[in-house]
């Protein structure tokens, strides 16, 4: 079925670009938008644009944030000697919801997936290494860029000081909070092989998380237990 209006058809087309939205769902959403008050539609449109214009990536942990560095990296009470490595920003949210984790994060931006052609150079793995050792000490065969060794230009002196403080902090533990599946396993083994020669312990949350399950869908209690019961690789 096609709408007889070109504008509605255009909206349907655009909506189908979103993940998990097929044509039918897009048509239902478009029909709903047609009935909404104009002010509400404007709010949605503005929120979409604001996300692109205002949200940036934290220089330290690569989480999404309005202010760089992000609130977690800014917080003086967070333990900067423990870094929890996650696949994406949703996993940070899931772990923050447990209210039990006091360390900081590192967002990889994905996981290693040979079947999808995603390797370490597509992820923020070299940037993770950069938080553990100085750029010169990262083995050359770790693909990727060294990240921003100097703070980006758009941050103020206070932010710059925070970035430097993180770089100076001695990291004692890396907690790998990747999903318990083939891609998560591949990522975890790769990172642990890189980090093993350093004086940093590498643990992985797994206990209580069933293989194949997505971290994002774990309830707080399960995730807390998983964090608590993390084991070395």
């Amino acid at each position: 079925m096609q709408f007889s209006s070109e504008s509605v058809e255009g909206l349907v087309e655009q909506l189908t670009k979103l993940p998990s939205i097929g044509r039918k769902t897009a048509q239902r959403l478009a029909a709903f938008v047609l009935k909404m008050p104009r002010a509400e539609v404007v709010e949605i449109a503005e929120a979409l644009i604001a996300v692109k214009d205002r949200v940036r990536e934290c220089t330290i942990c690569h989480n999404v944030t309005d202010r760089n560095p992000c609130v977690i990296c800014r917080a003086p009470r967070r333990d900067r000697s423990t870094i929890c490595v996650v696949e994406d920003a949703n996993d940070v949210l899931a772990i923050e919801r447990t209210g039990e984790y006091r360390g900081v994060y590192h967002v990889l931006g994905g996981v290693i997936s040979p079947l999808n052609g995603i390797g370490p150079e597509d992820l923020r793995i070299r940037e993770l290494m950069r938080r553990l050792v100085s750029a010169d000490d990262i083995p050359d065969d770790v693909p990727g860029t060294n990240g921003s060794a100097t703070p980006p230009e758009d941050v103020d002196a206070e932010a710059e000081a925070i970035i430097e403080a993180h770089q100076a902090a001695a990291v004692e533990e890396i907690i790998l909070a990747v999903n318990p599946n083939v891609e998560g396993d591949t990522t975890a083994y790769y990172i642990s092989q890189l980090v093993n020669p350093l004086e940093v312990s590498v643990t992985r949350i797994a206990r209580g998380l069933p293989i194949g399950g997505d971290l994002e869908y774990a309830d707080e209690a399960t995730l807390s237990r998983a964090l608590e019961g993390r084991g070395s690789l």
């Binding site: 150079e121 599946n181 083994y189 194949g212």
Partner: protein, 258 residues
Amino acid sequence: MSTIVRTDAVVLRSLDYSETSQIVTLFTRERGIVSVIAKGARKIKSRFGATLQPTSYIQVVFYYKPTRGLQTLTETSHVERFPDVHRSLEKLVIGQRIVELVDALLQEEEHNPMVFNLTVGVLRTLNEADERLGNLLAYFRMQLATALGFAPAIRKSDVTALTDEGGRLDLNTGAIHPSEVQLPQSRGASRAALRAFAVIARADLRDVMRMQMEPRTQRAVDGLIEDYLRYHVEEAYPTRSDDVASQLSGAGSSHLRG
């Protein structure tokens, strides 16, 4: 009209779909490659548990409708577990390269019990083996070529006739020739590499796993097998996991390459 199918299968890949589901590509014993939807597979308490990970050897039940591209998965259970395939980077990557090859080189719903048994056998060995995992991948590629209908035509006398000069592999027939023979589609290689090629093509898996090769010979024979397979399957040859494997090989696992 839909029928209920119960069959053994190897999981080739899983793709997240909608909120909590997955689209899973299965290599089934009965019907070859079939794509199914596993509803709720990513929920923490999914009824599919750990069965839908690539390289899993499982029994599946699904509703099959020939007019439909995606069948609905209803039940799964492990036939045999290969836990060690998930316990090292090298094994994880080889396992994924094996399923990638099956996925890329077999047609949808192409019934091929020979490739099925080969795949399960190789995954089982991958689970058990402690060393020479590179031999395993070489064996798999070569046997896959044979199962797909282009077994190399190797004569024992051609192999024994090889001199220190080495020889040439005819990419079209898989025959081995002396180095002076002029062939349009061929590759030159050392005697050791061509001998290894011949052994991997003819010997059983157990013997191949006992083969001790110099790293140089290993690389050369991997190159020969890859060229031979590529010559026959052309564009279908998958390269994604090869690319990732070479990126990963830096982290102290040099034989992931190849």
